[in-house]
Amino acid sequence: MSTTTVSQLDKVKDGPWNGGRSPWNLEYGKIMMWFFLVSDTFTFSAFLIMYGAQKFAQPTWIDADKVFQSIPGIAESGQPLVFVGIMTFILIMSSVTMVLAVDAGHRNKKNEVVKWMLWTILGGLCFLGCQAIEWTHLHHQGFWFGRNPATGLEGEAVAEALAPYFTKDIAYTAALQFANMFFTITGFHGFHVSIGVLLNIIVLCKTLNNTFQKSGSYLMVEKVGLYWHFVDLVWVFVFTFFYLI
């Protein structure tokens, strides 16, 4: 009787958290990338929630369908959502090519990794180009940090200048806060995309340099991939809250 009790007490614990092994079975850098992305989620959430709070605090709000109407080089106005649709498609597409690069890395196929990384970088650059065009367009209309098309005007001229962008009542502060939040949030997202493109280029160079081939692991592609998907993820939310709602 007593011998069985003792042997149960002395039994070696072999759960995931009893030491001697990696409980999450993940490499350190990958866990750190995840933790960074969780913290970045809070930053972007704070921005977007502030946008929502502003919207709730204003008696009226700008109509996104009327602000974003142009397709550069094709139509000056009357085409809401089409251009941002193209941008969204580009970013989703580059997310797919990134997973394909990670997948190729798992199979140790250097040439495939290079091919898909190049497509991903191209997608990222196309997205940044589109965003630059969008910003330029809005800037020409008079929107900027702390500025809207009615800045400097007075009286009825304010309503007249802002009328094209509103469906409901017209208000200077609503247009101003929209401009501030739009440039801050898409700007911060665009900054993330730029960093992502830079990281992708570095990883591409290392791949071409056979660094991963020699070390036998394409884990770095995976880590940069996590970051790149996160950028796509943020855009999904920015797209919904700025362009759809």
Binding site: Q58, S95, V236, T240, I245
Partner: protein, 107 residues
């Protein structure tokens, strides 16, 4: 996840995005069947969260990690829900508070 799986997730994301565009461009803007409002916002947010799930679970591979890691990365996000509720209530309060009380000069 194999190549077939990757493309399957891509088509799910594409379909969800296409649905959003169909609603926004077709039903709201072009045909005028649905009006912008709370119902439509809920639809958009549900579609967005579905897209976010597919990106995080499959593209970022989180679904296939150890469950304790999934919990570790996602449980903190509950604070975001709390934050959303707090700030939207605050914004709604300010709408009323800002509009109904004028500022008087203090001579």
């Amino acid at each position: 996840m194999d190549k077939k799986g990757i493309w399957r997730v891509f088509f799910v994301l594409l379909a969800l995005t296409a649905l959003e565009f169909l609603i926004a461009l077709g039903f709201v803007h072009h045909w005028g069947i649905i009006e912008k409002g709370m119902f439509l916002n809920v639809v958009y947010i549900v579609l967005t969260l579905a897209k976010a799930y597919y990106i995080v679970a499959y593209f970022m591979h989180l679904k296939f990690e150890k469950s304790s890691f999934i919990v570790c990365c996602s449980v903190g996000l509950l604070f975001i829900v709390y934050f959303i509720i707090l700030l939207l209530i605050e914004g709604d309060f300010l709408l009323d508070a800002f509009q109904s009380h004028p500022v008087f000069p203090n001579n």
